[in-house]
């Protein structure tokens, strides 16, 4: 096996069908879709098709789809639009476990005069929705709640939250970057105003995203420029990537069943296999409400970076929420918000699968990981104590 890639929440492989679809637009079909000649018309027709394909996957209308440069831009645009189109409202509600794309923007706004409520989660990563509803006031400009968490895969009850928020006349945004393509989404039956997605999480290239804007939602552009995207996002379109994203959405629709059956089974088998053969390990998150492709496991008394580097020796790719890998000195804000004890937060590993993973790969990981954990534990001054405590129950 060349590589066992279990880090699909970080990014995904571009699907071969997607690559094939986009390549002509990097080669012969290079016209600017805004131009008047028929050479350009071919390109703009293809963009329209991409827009329809994205809309179809989401149960949206084509005019409600705005292409952006990434998931982060979509998040920023939604929150910016809500805040700037309602300047009198100075309150924002979000959660403590958002991706930095939302979290850091909200923190930024909190230093600039907005009041921000960061709604907590429980030990399994479930949102305290009662607290969320109680925090809503006539001053609330927007509520932004992610559909699925990138680290744990925990899925929030977006349909309910959207209904409650909208019933109070408040704008609702969901960062669905991790959800799109993994769980069915039907915006027609949801009261969502803004939804963000990112191409590179569903087998399209990096650097292309979408912001869904419900018809009638007040909007104010983040990137001001030309007439592209009906003035909602200026800038000549990233044609090839948008076409790729359209194809990726079409594929995601046809793979949805596979994702929720075969991939889910692979994930469950990986999880059960590791928990059974590695003592003092536990799942972080809510197994009842979780993406089909993600598992986050905490291994006590070992440190994530060391695990990842030893796994890398076996060409296994995954992520960790440990301090050393989170780019800061503290373990991931998501695990801390859940109150995961330090003993296992530092040793947490996220495995995120895709339709390209196989049974053989899962077997390989179940075989290779236990000795790695054992080896690191044999170096650790804490392990004996922990093991004794664990054995005592």
């Amino acid at each position: 096996m060349e590589r066992i890639y279990l880090d699909n929440n970080a990014t995904t492989q571009v699907a071969p069908e997607v690559l094939e679809e986009m390549l002509p637009y990097l080669q012969d079909l290079y016209a600017n879709p805004s131009s008047m000649y028929s050479f350009a018309g071919e390109v703009s027709q293809k963009l329209k098709e991409a827009r329809r394909r994205v809309a179809a996957l989401l149960g949206a209308q084509a005019e409600e789809i705005v292409f952006t440069s990434c998931g982060s831009e979509s998040d920023s645009t939604a929150i910016w639009a809500a805040v700037h189109s309602q300047p009198e409202k100075r309150h924002i509600v979000t959660t403590r476990v958002e991706h930095p794309a939302v979290k850091n923007l909200c923190e930024h706004l909190s230093h600039r005069g907005w009041r921000v409520t960061f709604v907590p989660v429980d030990a399994k990563g479930r949102l305290d929705t009662d607290l969320l509803y109680r925090s809503l006031t006539p001053d609330t400009a927007i509520v932004s709640v992610m559909w699925a968490n990138n680290e744990t895969g925990v899925v929030f009850p977006i349909a309910d939250i959207a209904r409650e928020v909208r019933a109070r006349g408040i704008v609702f945004h969901t960062d669905a970057v991790q959800a799109v393509g993994k769980v069915p989404i039907d915006l027609q039956s949801l009261e969502v105003d803004f939804l963000s997605l990112s191409g590179h999480k569903l087998h399209a290239p990096k650097g292309v995203g979408v912001l869904y804007i419900r018809k009638g939602t007040k909007f104010s552009p983040f990137l001001i420029g030309g007439h592209q995207e009906r003035g909602r996002r200026g800038g000549t379109e990233n044609v090839a990537s948008i076409i790729a994203l359209g194809k990726a959405c079409e594929l995601a629709g046809s793979h949805m069943h596979d994702e929720n059956s075969r991939v889910r089974k692979l994930r469950d088998r990986l999880e059960a296999g590791l928990l059974a053969s590695i003592p003092a390990s536990a799942v972080n998150g809510d197994p009842e409400h979780r993406l089909p492709n993600t598992t986050n496991i905490g291994f006590e008394s070992v440190e994530g970076e060391a695990i990842l580097l030893l796994m890398d020796r076996h060409r296994i790719c995954a992520s960790s929420g440990s301090a050393c890998t989170s780019g800061s000195l503290e373990p991931s804000h998501v695990l801390r918000a859940m109150g995961v004890p330090f003993t296992s937060a530092h040793g947490s590993v996220r495995f995120s699968l895709s339709i390209y993973n196989t049974d053989a790969e899962i077997d390989y990981v179940i075989e290779k990981l236990p000795p790695i954990i054992e080896r690191l534990r044999s170096l650790s001054p804490f392990w004996k104590k922990q093991a004794a405590a664990h054995a005592a129950g």
Binding site: E303, A306, C324, L329
Partner: protein
């Protein structure tokens, strides 16, 4: 992806001297699970105060494990007096360098060694020295002061890289800045004068100082500076961007660039534009 030297990787993959010495003469424990790294160092010391054996157990990332392994290799067979002189920088050097975000791993090694020696000498377990500045990682003012002095740290970020202080809630940043300012004020003159640099060291230091201290602020105003040559104590530079055409470029050179270089490299430097 952290960029580790081959030596770090090698010591991480094949750590030397892992384990416990049951009848150790000195034991040093530092770090904690909460902090994400911890090291217990065991020393066996003979009657001539020579370290016969050293073993360790470490919880932490690759560089924490490699630093511990390196430390034991460096001190085995040495007298306590010699071993006590090992600095965190020596540990980092032994490994061919550590990423700057990981320097705290080498500091942890040095601290464990000090504790183990103190333990051997029967010096009463020193209480936390100084006052806690960083609550998140339990770092004291004295620890920060020492790291700043020994490693010539100048920014809060560097202090965080070496001690972890300030890497959590960040509420202690003002206090860390005060400590840096205090140390800089205190050690300004003597060590600079005392420092004897080889030509290569001098040029490197000039380059580093330009990169770190000068370029960022010039760039804010749309300018840039390039080091052309160093001739004795004359530093030849080229100004670029807005600096090059700006009428106050001479002022910039003398008042800002030269001052910085004199302060941070050697006081005799003269900066000239070519």
């Amino acid at each position: 992806m952290w960029e580790y030297t081959e030596k770090v990787k090698e010591h991480f993959l094949n750590p030397r001297n892992v384990g416990v010495i049951d009848d150790a003469d000195g034991v040093g424990e530092v770090g904690s699970l909460a902090c994400g790294d911890a090291l217990t160092l065991y020393l066996k010391i003979d009657e001539n105060e020579r370290i016969q054996d050293a073993k360790f157990q470490t919880f932490g990332c690759a560089s924490a494990i490699a630093s511990s392994s390196a430390l034991t290799e460096m001190i085995k067979g040495r007298t306590l007096e010699e071993a006590a002189k090992v600095t965190n920088d020596d540990i980092a050097q032994f490994l061919g360098g550590l990423p700057k975000e990981k320097m705290h791993c080498s500091v942890m090694g040095r601290e464990a060694l000090e504790k183990a020696i103190a333990d051997y000498r029967g010096e009463a377990e020193k209480k936390v020295e100084g006052n806690i500045v960083c609550e998140c990682f339990g770092v004291t003012d004295l620890q920060i002061e020492r790291a700043v002095k020994e490693n010539h740290l100048r920014t809060i970020e560097e202090v965080t890289d070496y001690t972890k202080a300030g890497g959590g809630c960040e509420s202690c940043h003002d206090r860390i800045q005060e400590i840096i300012d205090h140390v800089l004020g205190m050690v300004h003159e003597p060590p600079k004068k005392a420092r004897k640099l080889t030509n290569i060291q001098k040029i490197k230091l000039i380059e580093e100082t330009l990169d770190r201290e000068v370029k960022p602020s010039l760039k804010q105003d749309g300018g840039d500076i390039e080091l052309v040559d160093v001739d004795g104590n004359t530093v030849l530079v080229k100004l670029r961007g807005t600096c090059a055409t700006c009428s106050i470029s001479q002022v910039t050179l003398k008042d800002y660039v030269e001052k910085k270089l004199r302060e941070l490299v050697v006081p005799e430097l003269v900066v000239e534009e070519v």
